[in-house]
């Protein structure tokens, strides 16, 4: 049987270090399989989050060989064989233990974004008419599995720790899904500029690169939001037109 070498970060807020492991691997093994095997065999208390094991829940986020990845969708086969595979926790959030970080900040941020506010129903039975092309425009954003890998990689959070002033790419995607929702009537533009710090994003596109759902975060969500916000802030005419058109 083939074996693979792993270096897994273990520790807590007070510090930690990489620990070496050797794992017998089976065909098709993903990083999460190896981590769980290590956990079952020798490190029973190794902290790690996972649920679906199919890239659908966004629980198993970590940095594999330095890259933010879903452990359940990272095949050993696709990683270099001649060096140990390193696995470490996300960097943008406080460490809890081993591979688990405290991501509760993300849940607080979401609450600060104004919720969905639909227009009055089109039909008497309380339903709306929406067409596939209206829906398709936002489907991309609604694929988000809240893995927070984009939050992890964004330098505004990771290096500059602007957690107070900047909501991060995940929540621009969320805001974009609401702003472009065919039924939504809320206006989030002032918030985006003032409370949510969209101006901090300097379009490095790192977030787009790591998104496991392939959401084009920067081009399709952030840039259009920036355009709306700028229109509003600096262009009184555009503002007037928007007022007349309802958005």
């Amino acid at each position: 049987m083939k074996t693979a070498a792993f270096k897994i970060w273990r520790g807590d807020a007070s510090g930690g270090a990489f620990q070496d492991f050797q794992v017998d691997v089976k065909p098709g093994y993903v990083v999460l399989d190896a981590v769980r095997k290590i956990q079952a065999d020798e490190a029973h208390d190794m902290a790690v989050r996972w649920n679906c094991k199919a890239g659908r829940c966004g629980s198993c986020s970590a940095e594999v060989n330095g890259m933010p990845r879903l452990m359940c969708m990272t095949k050993l086969h696709d990683l270099p064989e001649d060096q140990p595979i390193t696995v470490e926790p996300l960097k943008a959030f406080p460490i809890v233990r081993d591979l688990v970080t405290d991501v509760s900040w993300n849940y607080e941020v979401k609450k600060r974004i104004k919720p969905f506010k639909p227009r009055a129903p089109d039909h008497e039975d309380g339903t709306w008419e929406m067409h596939q092309e209206d829906v398709d425009r936002v489907m991309e954003f609604r694929k988000c599995i809240e893995c927070f890998l984009c939050q992890d990689v964004c330098h505004v959070l990771r290096d500059h720790h602007k957690h107070e002033d900047f909501i991060g790419p995940r929540f621009f995607v969320y805001a974009a899904a609401l702003e472009m929702h065919p039924l939504d009537e809320e206006d989030r533009r002032d918030d985006l500029r003032q409370e949510h710090g969209i101006g901090y994003c300097n379009i490095t596109k790192c977030c787009t690169k790591v998104c496991p759902e392939g959401i084009t975060i920067t081009d399709n969500a952030i840039i259009p939001l920036k355009e709306r916000v700028v229109d509003r802030a600096y262009d009184p005419l555009a503002k007037l037109v928007q007022l007349v058109r309802g958005k």
Binding site: H44, C57, S104, F116, Q132, H181
Partner: protein, 606 residues
């Protein structure tokens, strides 16, 4: 005295999948205070994984659909052991619950005239599943989550409940620990809603995650509530079989709904070889008719691939056992072939089944637009669970409600695909509503400090005792339950195997009672797993006992020694309850007689 903090809520909801979220939203809307507890982070519950869709007789695609047809389909699928009142409420209320999601921001695929699109699924007479590609569960849980967080619900994430608290018969709260630091938390409540999902982790090959250890079933049982229909465990016909690391991961029925066909190693569409009499009239005679059905021809009948799950799973097993399986012990599921029928097949498949395309591409290195998939049965869903009142969802214990997969009744002997997501919405809402009413009229109960003390001490024991170095640790004990259940109480059952399973479980329980874990209380999955053992052993025993008692084959329950349905068993539910001496008591109960008008509907629908 152990250390713990205390929180108070009018309604405590345990579980934050679709059922728990819907219950919380409804309870909060009644103006009571609500606490919502979940083992994982919010939005990660099993509901997120649901793919195919949510069943509701909206009639958007085929105007002939109605609640009556949905009701009759559900009862037929369930081998008529369903709680008919639940099936009635479910069929009537599901359309409103689905529309309501749209008012809360959900976006579903559309019909050409701008309404919610519906797709075909096994056992449903008409296209009935509202869906979004193959990520319906994600859309649903995110909608409920994003709506719910603005409703003043207190969410306790990554907290595991280990025990319910009772005052006499009445349930008055629960004890849990936070996974992060292992601190204990006591919840004092006026009413408790159980919404903990299923029991899939009792088997080795499963589409379910680590969370599905039957906690709610076991917690309710140990508090004195009744369980029903526990012999009925659904094995989904199509799970991945290769590579080994992905074995069991679900391949949505949507693949077959979109025209995917099952073939054996000889290239034969074997599903045409065995069509049950009950479904003969509704099933296509030829592949050509089957294709017309999946492409929306109202005159055509459904292809045999869309027969109920129990039947399809058994047919697959038969092919494999008789040597006509695929290289890795499954059969072939082919969607690529539709390229013959539609223009640009690959693009069509990617649009209809993006998640499946991605899943096979990434995890198995297979391009489903070009090659067939290898699939085989996987443990999927528990029809059995906490016995509840159909209208209020209250269990046999006052103050304890249950909804979603951990509750029983709606699905009888076999669940139809899509009927779970609708179940969560319909009965989640009802549970939340009635729990809020109960809490308002009864006030908060009294918590007995002695019960808390016992629960905490029991939970800490694995960290404190010196272990047996040879038991393999908590993960291997868990795995031994799974192996045993897979081998002896899986799709095909018989007396000797079930007896061996019971003996085996007894041995494993002995080991589990002495399990020790290393490390401390900080996010320690070894410890968490050790605590899940009691639950999994409880539900496994319930499944085996009920399966042994039911001496016939019906729905998801198949016995080689009692082949076929036995009419005498067709009117009996099996009810389990903890006896005075701690043993598991099992009793037979007659299925209540159906209201005449409902019986007439079934007659009419044939």
């Amino acid at each position: 005295m152990s250390e713990y903090s205390t929180v108070e809520h009018d309604v405590l909801v345990i579980g934050a999948g679709g059922a728990g979220l819907r219950a919380s939203i409804e309870a909060a809307a009644q103006g009571v205070s609500v606490g919502l507890v979940c083992k994982s982070l919010l939005g990660k519950a099993h509901t997120v994984m649901a793919e195919g869709g949510v069943a509701a007789a909206l009639g958007n695609v085929d105007g002939r659909d109605s609640w009556e047809v949905h009701f009759a389909d559900t009862m037929r699928g369930g081998g008529y052991l369903n709680n008919w009142r639940m099936a009635e409420l479910h069929a009537k209320e599901a359309p409103d619950r689905v529309r309501e999601l749209e008012a809360w921001g959900a976006l579903m695929d559309r019909t050409p005239d701008g309404r919610i699109l519906q797709r075909n699924f096994g056992g449903h007479a008409y296209p009935r599943l509202a869906h979004v590609g193959d990520r319906t569960g994600l859309e649903m849980i995110r909608t409920l989550q994003d709506h719910g967080i603005h409703k003043g619900i207190d969410v306790h994430m990554e907290v595991t409940i280990v025990s319910l608290l009772t005052d006499g018969d009445r349930v008055v709260g629960a004890v849990g620990y936070d996974r992060e630091r292992g601190r204990f938390r006591v919840f004092r409540a006026g009413a408790v809603v159980m919404a903990t999902g299923g029991i899939g982790k009792a088997f080795l090959i499963t589409s379910n995650s680590w969370e599905y250890t039957g906690d709610g079933h076991a917690l309710a049982y140990h508090a004195g509530a009744e369980l029903v229909d526990m012999e009925f465990v659904q094995f989904h016909p199509t799970g991945m079989v290769w590579p080994p690391s992905v074995q069991g991961i679900l391949v949505t029925e949507g693949v077959r709904g979109e025209g995917g066909v099952l073939k054996n190693s000889e290239g034969r569409r074997f599903m045409f070889d065995d069509i049950p009499p009950l479904y003969k009239d509704q099933t296509a005679d030829t592949p050509e008719e089957g294709w017309r059905y999946v492409t929306g021809d109202k005159e055509a009948r459904r292809p045999p691939e869309l027969l109920t799950r129990d039947h399809v799973a058994r047919c697959i097993l038969r092919e494999v056992r008789e040597g006509r399986g695929s290289p890795h012990g499954g059969v072939f599921l082919d969607i690529a072939w539709i390229d013959e029928k539609v223009s640009d097949g690959p693009a069509h498949i990617k649009r209809k089944l993006p998640g499946m395309y991605h899943q096979f591409k990434e995890l198995a290195g297979i391009d489903i637009t070009k090659e067939p998939m290898e699939v085989g049965p996987t443990t999927h869903y528990a029809m059995g669970g906490i016995r509840v009142d159909a209208d209020t969802q209250m269990s046999s214990l006052p103050g304890l409600f249950a909804a979603g997969e951990c509750a029983a009744g709606l699905h009888g002997a076999n669940r139809l695909g899509g009927n779970s997501l609708s179940d969560l919405l319909v009965f989640g809402r009802r549970a939340g509503l009635h729990a809020a009413e109960f809490a308002s009229s009864h006030g908060r109960g009294t918590v007995d400090a002695g019960q808390v003390e016992t629960a905490v001490r029991e939970a800490l024991a694995p960290l404190e005792r010196a272990g047996d170095a040879n038991d393999g640790g908590p993960y291997y004990i868990m795995q031994s339950v799974q192996e045993l259940m897979q081998a002896k109480a899986g799709i095909i059952r018989e007396e000797d195997g079930l007896r061996e399973a019971l003996d085996g479980l007894r041995d494993i329980a002995r080991k589990a009672a002495g399990v020790a874990v290393n490390g401390n209380r900080d996010f320690n999955p070894g410890w968490h797993t050790a605590l899940d053992l009691k639950n999994i052993l409880t539900v496994a025993e319930a499944v085996v006992r009920a399966a042994r008692e039911r001496k016939e084959s019906r729905g998801a329950h198949s016995r080689t020694d009692y082949d076929g349905k036995d009419p005498d068993w067709g009117t009996v539910n099996l009810v389990l309850r903890k006896g005075e001496g701690g043993e598991m008591d099992l009793r037979r109960e007659a299925v209540p007689e159906m209201r005449q008008e409902l019986a007439d509907i079934i007659q009419e629908q044939g």
